[in-house]
Symmetry: C2
Subunit: 765 residues, 2 copies
């Protein structure tokens, strides 16, 4: 492959100026004439029947322009009572605390808040299912019951997925098991019996919020009687439009969905689940309506990441060869099923390492808590915390080096995974070797008791993430001034437009400054997948490359005809198309544009289409070494050093890649040490503010070192692989293992709070 000119250059974001100046328009910044502000009234009950809603007093309040309840929702064919999207206003039953019951649009926020107080709702409280242990009992009340009464279909169908070579049926024991999967292979009992060491524990991960800085924000405006324009902070413009279309029965052609700049999403804003409220209020009031969630509403009622309880049992031979794996995964989906994250947790327990036999049972369990959704590598942390903790314990018991233990058991290309499919090419070994040779690992371990009086230790963790690779399309259009415009429907959540400008520039043979990125709404753009699943560069970048190459080919063709020179003798740079070796024989880019636009043009306008579908997965492997200090009096853990290595293939923009690895690592440390949405016995959130919910900030972190590993694999543009998600997985386990190494005892529940550390020390010492 010839050396690239633009790919691999560390570039600051092309949107940096707009953002630094505060000029970029985020969802919360949208202002329209006569715009109203919206608030919603939410359920104080985890489970109750709505007997009546009286909105008359609220409606009578001056300044209130519209009040809506479920009766305002149009009847649509696509209504699915078992889906959170359609429960944007509770119908007969409320099924979690925080579920919207009514909403108002008013001239100002104070009036809207007053109006909420004037809405009178009569509830009949019903028994709520709040714990996983309770939820899976055969006689547990059915969570789905409440919102299923309108439908004969049951979302909680409790079906069994058997994906491995040996089906193991299990009786359906509870109405709240929405989905169950079993992956089984080999003789697990025999493999355990032949093991030198067997470790078994139960690992819990709590509910956490995705932690985007900007809350959900959406503004809707019916600019014509049958057409609504929506501005929304959202990760997937097409997904957001489809949600509005399907929940409100609006034809897609009648919805313009402008995705704004977005202050983070991390999987929590893929569709922007609150948009139907704003759209419906705007319809009823006849005015533009903006809805921005408060942090409290975010923490109580948005769509956090799932908690899980994983019982895990692992065996190994004396030389460290892993033998058997047995797991039971309970994932709390909240009041509505999500289907796929539980499967990710269950299979990821198995998929990084080879085992002779395994039996993995996963259950998605419904409870009367807020429903969940993705958070950066959804389920990855849940699984990694369990298996990586257990591997460390095995290494410890066998007296083996934890990095070597991982190296010798890696599931590499061709090894069968949990679902009996062969592993793709992965850079797992290369990532571990990069750490093995790095000062983060080769430096002498910190003294157990430091000069600071704290205990010190080091730990390692590994993680993998498959990533998405959806179909994606883009256009490259030559402009009158010689710039090339890339038109695409992608939301730029993490600087991906800068990297895609690099891809386009490389393909065209121009400089990045020649490329203009145009984010188009689904009214104008060909399909773009959501900016999630780490697929933006891998999938959409491929479409951008294809579009740019197609444009380049047409430019060469047009100029070859115009100059009567063979195409093979032509090349392109930022000035124009020129004869190789004779740069004075050239057509400037504006002249090339005219070859497809002016009266004398022989051809149509110059554009290139890119419609891509990556054939190969490009899994991302990451590993982290963490060093911690522990105050033995209080149990408080201080992170002192963190190094994450990740195989990203070719880093299109190393600056952006480093930022991604540092961001993921920071979030992961937060999950390890601090974050938890805490619930009381009535299913109410106890800590719905950032004072009581400790999200990691720069002040909490040491400098995070990153190691970019570049291995082949996949068929991404210029050798790129997925980037965004893998880095959030391994630091949790690295920190947990560092703490265990430091205190000589282990915490099996996240977050690793001072109390838990102190208790573990008391028990273990």
């Amino acid at each position: 492959m010839p050396k690239t000119q633009v790919i691999g250059q560390p570039l600051p974001r092309i949107d940096a100026v707009d953002k630094v100046r505060g000029e970029a328009v985020f969802g919360t910044d949208v202002q329209l004439p006569r715009m109203l502000l919206a608030k919603f009234l939410s359920s104080p009950h985890a489970h109750a029947e709505i007997l009546s809603i009286d909105t008359s007093q609220a409606e009578a309040l001056p300044g209130v322009r519209a009040v809506i309840t479920a009766t305002d929702i149009p009847e649509v064919d696509t209504y699915d009572p078992g889906h959170r999207f359609h429960a944007f206003l509770a119908r007969r039953f409320v099924v979690f605390v925080g579920q919207p019951v009514a909403a108002v649009a008013a001239d100002d926020l104070a009036t809207a808040e007053t109006a909420l107080e004037l809405i009178s709702v009569q509830y009949r409280p019903l028994p709520a299912v709040l714990t996983l242990q309770e939820a899976i009992l055969p006689d547990s009340p059915s969570v789905a019951h409440g919102h299923q009464t309108d439908s004969s279909e049951s979302a909680a169908h409790g079906h069994t997925t058997v994906s491995s070579d040996k089906a193991v049926e299990k009786p359906e024991t509870s109405p709240n098991i929405a989905n169950r999967s079993i992956y089984a292979h080999g003789d697990v009992a025999a493999a355990f019996a032949a093991s030198a060491v067997v470790v078994e524990h139960t690992y819990t991960v709590p509910t956490v919020h995705q932690g985007y800085i900007e809350p959900h924000a959406v503004t809707a405006h019916w600019d014509r009687a049958n057409h609504v324009t929506v501005w929304q902070s959202v990760q997937g413009a097409f997904a957001a439009r489809d949600l509005i279309a399907d929940t409100l029965g609006i034809p897609r052609a009648n919805i313009t969905l402008n995705s704004t700049e977005i202050g983070g999403g991390f999987g929590g804003k893929i569709e922007g689940i609150f948009s139907p409220l704003a759209v419906l209020l705007a319809k009823k009031s006849g005015r533009p309506v903006k809805l921005v969630l408060t942090r409290r509403e975010e923490l109580i009622g948005a769509n956090p990441a799932p908690r899980s309880v994983i019982r895990l049992k692992t065996g190994a031979k004396k030389d460290g060869t892993l033998t058997a794996l047995e797991a039971e995964v309970l994932m709390d989906a909240g009041a509505f099923p999500s289907n796929w994250i539980m499967n990710v947790i269950t299979t990821l327990l198995r998929n990084n390492y080879r085992f002779q036999a395994w039996r993995l049972e996963g259950m998605e369990v419904l409870t009367n808590r807020v429903s969940i959704t993705s958070y950066r590598a959804p389920g990855g942390v849940n699984a990694s915390f369990a298996i990586e903790s257990q591997l460390d314990e095995i290494a410890n018991q066998l007296g083996l080096d934890p990095l070597q233990l991982r190296l010798q058991n890696l599931a590499l290309q061709g090894d069968l995974l949990a679902d009996m499919q062969p592993q793709a090419w992965v850079g797992a070994k290369e990532v571990l070797m990069a750490l093995a040779g790095h000062p983060a690992w080769t430096d002498s371990p910190p003294l157990r008791v430091g000069e600071d009086g704290l205990l010190h230790g080091r730990g390692i963790g590994m993680g993998s993430w498959g990533g998405a690779r959806g179909p994606a399309a883009a256009l490259a259009i030559l402009e009158a001034d010689g710039k090339v415009r890339i038109v695409l429907g992608t939301v730029d959540v993490s600087g991906s437009f800068t990297s895609m400008a690099q891809i386009a520039a490389e393909a065209l043979g121009m400089s990045v400054e020649q490329v203009v990125m145009s984010k188009a709404s689904p009214d104008y753009a060909p399909f773009a997948p959501m900016s999630a699943g780490s697929q933006t560069i891998y999938a959409m970048g491929a479409a951008v490359k294809e579009a740019a190459l197609n444009l380049r080919a047409k430019m060469l063709k047009y100029v070859a005809e115009d100059m009567r020179v063979p195409e093979t003798q032509l090349d392109i740079n930022e000035k124009g198309v020129f004869v190789v070796g004779k740069p004075e024989q050239a057509r400037s880019l504006p002249m090339v544009y005219q070859l497809g636009t002016e009266w004398f043009a022989e051809h149509g306008p110059l554009m290139g289409e890119g419609s891509a579908r990556q054939r190969q997965p490009a899994p991302g492997m990451a590993a982290t070494v963490a060093e911690v200090a522990v105050d033995s009096d209080t149990g408080q853990v201080f992170l002192t050093r963190l190094t994450t290595a990740q195989d990203v293939g070719q880093a299109i923009n190393p600056l952006a890649v480093e930022g991604q690895i540092q961001g993921g690592s920071t979030q992961s440390v937060g999950l390890a040490l601090w974050e938890e949405v805490m619930y009381d016995a009535q299913g109410r959130v106890r800590n719905p503010s950032l004072l009581d919910y400790h999200m990691a900030t720069a002040a909490d972190m040491p400098m995070i070192e990153t190691i970019i590993v570049d291995t082949p694999g996949g068929d991404g543009p210029y050798g790129a692989k997925i980037v965004g998600e893998p880095s959030i997985i391994p630091p949790v386990a690295a920190v947990a293992n560092a703490v265990a190494q430091t205190i000589g005892a282990r915490v099996y529940d996240l977050p690793i709070t001072p109390e838990r550390v102190w208790r573990a020390m008391q028990a273990g010492l």
Copy 2:
């Protein structure tokens, strides 16, 4: 060719509901938060030097947010002092009455108007050139002088274009002849000498306004420090953007140009020449600024159609065979040259009919009047009024049927035109024959003196128009709900989107209801030519067809693979892709969409690209028969019957085509009988209101009968030819000839006012 399903169906406009409800957003409807309103101060002098401008009092007026003069215009490389676009604010000299000198943006219109009164401008009046006769004198003051002082280049370069086989040089006689063209062939003197009849007259056409209902309207908003969004009532979104970019030195990527719905343009709003005022005021005020011209400002200072003085001399043999043609065309360009319209007038005098010899001299003359631009078939009426009047006079003198005289002299395919290029295929004969067999012509002529006491008569006129055929591009994108979205940058000025939806539906094999037309700004759309030159269906329609066919081909390919059926056995309808003869074996359109968007997809998203360049011209021929009644006491002319036949090839939407022919015919009647922008001796418009400037309305018109003629020719989509412009050309001459036939005398000056008719009757009888 197989029979079409959708093409040729008369369909109401797909945007009818939005427009009838008043929901369509026109340029004047745009509202933004904190929006200011703009007014400009214009020159009271036809020619003067600006000695000083004091804006301090205006700036001090409460509510005034910005005042600009030429000193606020940034220095740009592309500055061209000889171009009207760049004279949006006068620099050192004003060169026509109405030229903007300063502009203000204020909280409301009243404040803006008051502020204008507070701006003090000191002028030194200079001699103004106001008549064509004066302008072409060798010692005439130079009109270009004023705005040329900043530049060494002279726009009034007076160069000579010789396009025929025989060059005839002429000394440059005046500084105000901006362009001169001579087309000459054969021995003119000999041909005249051999003629049985020679007719010579001078024909004048006055300045007229294009008569769009909505005035120029533009709103500009700097949404970021370096990015301006513009909403504009304009015919060419790309042209409008380029004008702003070039006059203000703004990179194209920093301009978003949203073309709004447009209340007519007819050539007068191709670029929307006032936009730099709004953009500059918005920049200076930091607020959105809207500028909407008043009718008075439109009639005084926009960009009307040119007046002309044509001396024409025609010879014919006794049998009616035309022999020689000699012409001198003076076209008044106003203060800035326009280059091409004069050539159109000059060549159109010759191009519909064969001559043995000709000498045509055209001069574009600068005067201190407002500069001119296109108006529906620019120059067509100027030429047609002269030559068609003269043909009628020849027929009359030779006692020949005027329709037959035209038939026998038609310049048909292969005949050499004024520029010695061969005539394309034209449906001229077919159009005349359609009239010849139509009751409009075969009915007994009206009694010379009717029962109403008025004089009656009938006349015929013919006209041709080449039309534009710019390169054009569009996209066809399959949507989630199975609709097909056509994305294009075209402004829909006349229902063309309905016709293009028909083209797309026909190409896809679907119904029109399945097609969604998406007008995209130049930020997202591939290049679209201006909606002018009758090219929208002919050129952009071809791109739409190509895009739809490409999409269809991909849909068939995807489904063939998915169903394992050969593509040749598949067909498409509005429900989906199905196996021919087995409609139960099908993939619904939403399923086909998923073949390019879902996880399981084998391919990228489904879209089709269309980038078209029509190779062949498809000239439009039109002919009109008019019947009039004349009050011999007052000279007033009443139009009693009008029938226009036009060759449009295949009418995509006959309803739209009829509307176009009726609209063009109505405008033409207005030009024939009523319209004239009248100037006083100081170059000031005397009738700047619709009370004094009589535009044709429905109340003035009889029902206009249309005859759609469909002949082959060109390479338009489904046999379509150009439509919009030809119908404005022949009615002027048909009415003039009907009047002449009625009163037995001829009016050589438009409009044919009662006074002129009365005077002609006095002279002729």
